[in-house]
Symmetry: C2
Subunit: 352 residues, 2 copies
DNA sequence: ATCGCTGCTGTAAACGTTTACAGGCAAGCC
DNA sequence: GGCTTGCCTGTAAACGTTTACAGCAGCGAT
């Protein structure tokens, strides 16, 4: 009635008592440090009987490592981030790290909070994918007390590894494709211009037209938000203004799905009347009707690269910040290429 | 040169020195306990200057609370689990808990590992959604040292809250719907029978036929796995064996998408020749071609309910285990109801 | 018999907090 | 003036580990 300390679960102390050795010996056995055969046996037996499990919190306090990594995604509903998550998770797991998931809903204050909370040291590192990068972000990044990898673009000189998509090239691939198909009234449906992807894709669209010798026309650009319903609304407006568009470059698969909805409702055929291209190449692109040509910005690859960069930092690498750029890829499907390939059945499509 | 202790970041000790008070006072100020005005001022000033942030690990060790909750999902690629995740995350966040994400890939050993690791006390509670529930699961559940909520079915008497879908009713809704449309050769494409959903849906299918007075025919049942490619393979086999089916009840949206692929490739029209119903009502169902009638098993609602149950436990409620059942809902779309409603544009579809 | 190894083992301090307890001090009362 | 009372404050222990250090036994060499 005086053996067990106080709490419920057995601790290293409980085992020490039971085995008749010191807590140091218990710890050593549990950590595989050299020990006499007999001591080891007693300790292991006691641990087994008691159903002992190491307390991760106490370990972390002493070792200053939590074996946890945070991933702060802007929008937990966006398939592009989910694709990253899917790749990040197994990489971390394989390296013995747990994943703490934050969804910031793209609210700047929330993202700053996450950065600030790194000081609480409940994680060893962070992967974050902000929609916007503000000065507040950069400030908090500079003050961060653990390694951070940013998926998205960050100014040169920032003290964080950086994994980027190349949406400029991505947009050009798509616009070139549409141009090659004979389209000349190519509109762009974009998200907010003060977001990183919004700005980059908008500029890239302009550049791509220029390179092709097509005129840039403000009327052909419509700004909405990165969601399906918003995309639909934006395309409806666009069609009202310029009924003769023959191609839509959408900044996002969700926007593109909204576009398909509206085009269908307006009686236009896709791709015969209007060709549609999305971006991100999410699962939805393959499943939609008609299946959606989409620019893959390598979400999965970016997630994986970010996780691997972070792991290197956690292993002690403190060389200069790195920059990894993942090349885009155009995945052609029915929404631009006619009806011959309207099903995704031909594509290798794994366990999704 | 002798002030700061050893590590890098400021601790409560650093503040105490700087402010010329004891660490107890610092702690009290930081926790809002009654303190003299002057002391409070000094402490807060010092904390501010030093950029102090509370160490979460040390706090957790003392308080025995980590403010973290784990969610163990069987398959991080499955939209049904993602729907749960999307609901769980904000509920936990609002209550001040962080989310630790585990993906077990439906491997039993991994799930047991997660349960076992609860003993490490790096989380205050767990929500898990196993595909199979084995004896090993039940054993580990019984030994779990923190509250656990299981999404899925668990035998009566298990020491865990339980949130269930009612797939029996769900299947019946679907089969009744198909029957009402005049279909009489209704096949079932199921996942493995040793999984909880597989077994439940298979049995429900049989019952539903019985209630309608339709004969049960082994030839009309095809077992595959819960993935798109597998579903396609299964449906191909089924069609070879019974070319005259006029309806497919698929245990899963992914299977149903595979079915659509194969039906299209075989020249059959949907729904004219063969009507198709999926289950889970994932995002894919609304986006597919033709849009997919699907039984919503309330993944989102289940996730939310699970999170709320767990929070109650964390607030100290230790009443008897609860059982929450979420009712299913049939969402009719083009794959059964003809072409009039082939687009999802009419449905309120938010930020996905 | 003494010395110095070698190889385990135990004691105690540390990680950064929270908190029970006791001490100090001013004010209020007789 | 001494006593109680109340309010703050500091000391120290605790949470459950890991680990530097010292101690001790056994053993071969001198």
């Amino acid at each position: 009635m005086e053996g067990t300390p106080l709490g419920d679960g057995p601790t290293i102390n409980t085992i020490a008592e039971r085995a008749g050795v010191s807590i140091a010996s218990v710890s050593r056995v549990l950590n595989g440090l050299p020990t006499r055969r007999e001591t080891e046996r007693k300790v292991l037996a006691a641990a087994e009987e008691l159903g002992y499990v190491r307390n991760a919190v106490a370990r972390s306090l002493k070792s200053r490592r939590t074996h946890q990594v945070a991933f702060a995604m802007a929008d937990i509903g966006n398939p592009a981030y989910l694709a990253m998550l899917r790749e990040i998770q197994p990489v971390l797991k394989a390296a013995g790290y747990r994943l703490v998931l934050h969804s910031t809903d793209a609210v700047v204050a929330d993202e700053i909070d996450v950065l600030h909370s790194l000081g609480e040291r409940y994680v060893d590192g962070l992967i974050m994918s902000p929609l916007r990068v503000t000065d507040a972000h950069l400030e908090s990044l500079a003050a961060a007390r653990t390694p951070v990898v940013v998926i998205g673009s960050v100014p040169e000189g920032t003290r964080a590894d950086n994994v980027r998509a190349d949406s400029r090239t991505g947009v050009r691939l798509a616009v070139d494709h549409l141009h090659a198909l004979g389209r000349r009234r190519i509109a762009m449906v974009n998200g907010p211009l003060d977001t990183v992807p919004g700005a980059a894709r908008g500029a890239a669209y302009r550049e791509a037209l220029e390179e092709l010798g097509l005129p840039y026309d403000d009327d052909l650009v419509q700004i909405g938000d990165f969601y399906r319903a918003e995309g639909a609304r934006a395309v409806a407006e666009l069609l009202a203004r310029v009924p003769d568009v023959d191609a839509l470059m959408c900044a996002n698969d969700l926007i593109a799905l909204g576009a398909l909805d509206v085009l269908r409702a307006s009686g236009r055929r896709v791709p015969d009347d209007v060709a549609v291209v999305g971006m991100d190449d999410t699962d939805l692109a393959a499943a939609s009707w008609p299946s959606l040509t989409s620019v893959s910005l390598g979400s999965a690859e970016r997630g994986k690269a970010a996780a691997e960069l972070l792991l290197q930092r956690l292993r002690g690498d403190d060389s200069a910040p790195r920059l990894v750029t993942v090349p885009p890829r155009l995945v052609v499907r029915a929404s631009t290429a006619g009806n011959r390939a309207d099903g995704p059945y031909d594509r290798k499509e794994g366990g999704v």
